[in-house]
Symmetry: C2
Subunit: 455 residues, 2 copies
């Protein structure tokens, strides 16, 4: 049965587009969330063009086959977990990009890595701001699916702020053009914005028009150590109320030590918290901001404050922050949280996570895009230890409950995927959940697109 | 029949909420678009609280009465045109605001004027950027309905970029909370963004959570005169490719003269175009940007360039630009266009409009948020001259056709309303139009909310 169905699809697409080799198909079972409930798709389909995606969706709708869209597979919430009897539609071979320096836009297919987009536009003196920590290995299509954030978002916003238009293929195979290279456009509903962050549940984005900025200035960096997390969190609130830093990142003691284990750059292993802050304002304004942040850190009780206007030295600290996830991952498997809270609740969230770590006898490291109130508690566990793995799962849920109790969200930038789906309805409430369902039903009545993810 | 129905509604709401006085009801027939096809509502309802809006919508759904939501009535596309047999739901009495300086957010009801929001948050050293020219008289709810833009958008973005959450009442009276004071939140579909710009067709926003920035620096202003529109447009492309001005505005000869007639501030009446540009970067960076813009203007062929770092003097030029619409309105009635094009097409658009003006023997003045490619051709006509009024109508449509032909949009920031509705399907194309309809149908199946507007 499934072989017959697939034969139709294989016949319709260019050779090599549909992959059924079991080893290859198995390698597409999970994304980086390593969802233990992952199934095995009947095939992986790797189209190159919008028309091919349309053919896949027409076929999927005709045969009621669930389609799991997949970017680079770096998702952390199980948004690309494969389903038994479904197909995985990978955008990895959709890699064209055209940069228009005059309109300051790039038109790109979804398969390019974020870093490749940045590089392509940098050749024209332009900059694509959103910068998830995984920017070297995550795809721009995946960024759009999750409305990805990053480090510079505290000043420059998230993915949706840079998406001017797209081509999207709906469940029934219809291709729709939305928006375009116009900086302002309010004709019709804001559908471009609706598809950003929809985690592949409403359509498959096959082309996107990105807004670009002139190249960012390389500014000043300030690093501060604290022996008290609350003091660091206080400083964040003070700073963001007064100036617009281009970065305001937080690492806790576990992360500091994990990074220092690997990079040996002389980080203060005794500190309870380390902040990495930056200003990219030009000239004296950048230095003034750096001085201001250093002063706020000191007044909040920092034990050490270090400023540098040398961009390469600054980059080293940013790299240390970016390296925190892999460094902590060296200690065991990770359940990677993504909860966000209003800024004043940051210290309470970190304290609450610490308490949960003690309670469940787990190592949990907290890193955070502190300026956005968006934290990543990293729960370390040994998957071969069933009891510890169960405690990690429990903590994963309790951290979300904690965040929601503090007025926060269950996911700031990674998406709901399959791992966080059980918490979505409780967070949104019945009315907003029903509204989500109505939109989903209107656009994908047969629930073909990424069923079981998010909604 | 309608009196019976209304009696139910009057009984359910606080005294004075439902207004049936014919003179008052008549004063709510039109917004500033002065839609000649406006009907007369059976009542104007002016609720103060979300619960009252819910009661109105439950009643409207039960009786299948169309509801036209209305902010301050400054809309320019007929989004708040009253309908015979319907009601107008005015948010003018929903005027509460709470500012939280710690999370840098404001929670406001929709009836406050944009300027009142700005003022309330300024007391805390905070800034709400979006600044439509009408900011002193337009409501924040109307800004959300149209995803309003303004002068500072070239650097700071539009309304949607500052809406973190809302409470919205659906057609059936359900109240839904979306988002909140969290700077990043990707849990569920991006519904907050969907309601922004939906022109009252999907729900009635009764409360909104706005993101605020620290107070803007008052920077440098550069004014330049050109005897050639194309030269001014070239300068715009050069400048935005290199730096991020906080304003980049354009006025044509008609606007310059209309403003000079009123303000007598010594503007160059012979110039074909005047640019008003600003940088709000602090310190030498702002002056450098101003110098850079002055140089680009000069090299592009400006006949006069004047820079000032005196903020009050700068404000005077900005006020002149903001005054352009009322100044041109002194010449006759206006059909106010709002077409946007990709930046390189700006000169062609202005030239095309000039040609249409000649062809139809009309006075058409072009002012523009040039840095966004968003222009406002102001078509002047005498409504008592039927032939001229007809020619104005024809030109109104032809300007949209011209913009679309240049890769532009039929509306950049004013909305489709009723005046531009005939052009929407042609602009969006059948697939995107169908997608709009599906969403509308899913959220307002009985077409109660602002029927005939936008979709």
């Amino acid at each position: 049965m499934s072989a017959d169905m697939l034969a139709d699809l294989i016949a319709e697409l260019p050779e090599g587009t549909v992959v059924v080799d079991p080893d290859i198909v198995a390698s597409y079972r999970q994304d980086r969330a390593a969802d233990p409930k992952a199934g095995t798709a009947m095939a992986v389909v790797r189209p190159r063009r919008t028309e091919e995606v349309q053919a896949v969706m027409r076929w999927a709708t005709a045969h009621r086959v669930p389609v799991v869209p997949r970017g680079a597979g770096t998702g952390l919430s199980g948004g690309a977990t494969a389903l038994d009897g479904g197909i995985v539609l990978s955008t990895e071979r959709m890699r064209d990009i055209t940069v228009d320096p005059v309109t300051r836009t790039a038109v790109t297919q979804p398969g390019l890595f974020n870093a490749e987009v940045k590089k392509a536009v940098a050749e024209y003196g332009l900059w694509y701001p959103p910068d998830p920590s995984s920017y070297e290995i995550c795809s721009i299509g995946g960024n759009i699916a999750t409305n990805a954030g990053g480090l510079c978002c505290v000043k420059y916003g998230v993915t949706t702020d840079y998406v001017l238009g797209m081509q999207v293929v709906l469940a029934d195979g219809t291709a729709v053009r939305l928006g375009g290279p116009r900086l302002k456009d309010v004709a019709g509903l804001s559908l471009t914005k609706l598809f950003v962050g929809s985690e592949g549940t409403l359509g498959i984005v096959t082309e996107v028009t990105l807004k670009l900025l002139p190249t960012q200035h390389r500014g000043c960096t300030v690093v501060a150590s604290f022996d008290d997390v609350a003091a660091a969190a206080d400083a964040v609130v003070t700073i963001t109320g007064k100036i617009r830093p281009s970065m305001l990142e937080f690492m806790d003691k576990v992360a500091i030590n994990a990074v220092e284990d690997k990079l040996k750059m002389g980080l203060n292993r005794d500190a309870a918290a380390m902040m990495v802050a930056a200003s990219d304002d030009r000239g004296p304004a950048g230095s003034e901001d750096a001085e201001y942040m250093a002063r706020v850190f000191t007044e909040a009780g920092a034990t050490e404050v270090y400023s540098t206007s040398d961009p390469d030295e600054g980059d080293a600290f940013v790299a240390a922050r970016r390296f925190a996830i892999p460094a902590v991952e060296a200690k065991g498997s990770l359940l990677l949280e993504d909860v966000g809270v209003p800024l004043p609740a940051l210290a309470d969230l970190v304290a609450g996570v610490e308490k949960l770590a003690e309670q469940h006898q787990l190592m949990i490291s907290v890193i955070a895009h502190a300026g956005d109130g968006n934290t990543h508690p990293l729960i370390v566990f040994d998957p071969s230890n069933a009891d510890e793995a169960a405690r990690a799962q429990t903590a994963f849920g309790e951290i979300m409950d904690l965040a929601v109790g503090l007025g926060g969200t269950i996911t700031g930038e990674h998406g709901v995927g399959r791992l966080k789906r059980p918490w979505l309805a409780g967070y949104l409430g019945p009315e907003a959940m029903e509204l989500n369902r109505r939109i989903k039903k209107a656009l994908d009545p047969d629930d073909i697109l990424n069923p079981g993810a998010a909604l």
